[in-house]
Symmetry: C2
Subunit: 191 residues, 2 copies
DNA sequence: CGTCTATTTGAATGTACTCAAAAGCGGTGG
DNA sequence: CCACCGCTTTTGAGTACATTCAAATAGACG
């Protein structure tokens, strides 16, 4: 079964006809690593579901420093929610980190599907709620935990990601500089 | 019209019957300032909509340091989303900062309403999406901005809140100690 | 009016950053 | 297949932003 259908089946049950209808509204694309799927300043037109591979989204400060908002590998959704909802130019870049197969669902088709299949509105409500909870926790962690503790949490929560991305990406996600992250890592290993 | 109905009317249109049905599923309560509406360790049973007054939610580290997740005044929703969704004990306290009138919507009634009035599922999807966008932005701000810049943003975004809460609450929301916040404030005034 | 809490101020400390340079690693072309 | 180039990671020294601890002052509330 299509990964995206499995993903949706976690929370709602679609009939075969509904599944087909959904798939007919999506588009599959293949990207090579290092592709920029979305640039800051552009309007985000799609929700992206990762069949296979790895992507990240991030913003840039003063045209210099990158800050990673998140990673998405197999079975994850990614996008620029601000831009997608408002249809205004966003601040996020979406970059492909490994050769990937991605399912694209345009905003118009997504809204169409909410109308055609109300269960999908429920599905997206639920995953948005879960994402919100995760962001709230990460926010509180950034307010209350040290860099080491944030790294520990990242390791536990995303053990697979660590093996697949450069450590400067993890440093950025954690919220420290690559230099500091390197020192912190060797300090932690020594224990 | 009831504030909660006005709030919902921002995104979906309910018939008078639907409005009545919704109201019949809610409960209005009055709280005195300093009341703890929810304690960490309890299961959150309700979504809270503020008719009038001011609340905050926060967590506590090592039984010492508080970290403010957010404030909610007239027209805002508040709760412990993690606990509400999972029905497990949460980490958040919800405290009343000013004498308040609050509308309570229990989890069961909320799910019932999703079924009875699908438009409400849309409503909650939309406000959850908006909340997620706000949390993403706050997260990126915490990763990339200085304490002064975060305070500036807070002032612009919540000009009304500043006048109504202790500055240690703002310090905690921003992510600095009360002492540092005090020094930062006087430093900023000198310019 | 007195008590309790919030805010301010100061000094010492620590965590994380900046800048700079060296070492490591990966991909590409000759 | 090796050598080179560019980028990532490591390491070090100096710095800055924010914290901790302590004490004084101000403010709120009964």
């Amino acid at each position: 079964m299509e990964p995206i259908l499995q993903n949706i089946a976690r929370f709602v049950t679609l009939t075969p006809e509904e599944q087909q209808h959904l798939l007919s509204k999506t588009e599959v694309r293949h990207y090579k690593a290092k592709t920029m799927v979305l640039h800051a300043g552009e309007v985000c037109k799609y929700s992206y579901f990762v069949n296979h591979g790895l992507l990240r989204n991030f913003s840039i400060n003063d045209h210099i420093v990158e800050h990673v908002l998140g990673f998405a590998c197999e079975g994850w959704w990614i996008g620029d929610m601000y831009s997608l909802l408002s249809q205004k130019p966003g601040n996020l870049f979406i970059e492909v980190l490994e050769d990937s197969e991605v399912v694209l669902l345009s905003k118009e088709n997504q809204e169409q599907l909410y109308h055609d299949i109300p269960k999908l509105e429920r599905f997206f409500r639920i995953i948005t709620e879960n994402s919100l909870v995760a962001h709230q926790e990460r926010l509180m962690d950034n307010l209350s935990l040290s860099a080491e503790e944030r790294f520990d949490k990242f390791c536990k929560r995303y053990p697979d990601i660590i093996q697949r991305v450069q450590q400067k990406q993890i440093a950025s996600y954690i919220g420290v500089t690559p230099e500091f992250f390197s020192k912190m890592k060797s300090r932690m290993l020594r224990k």
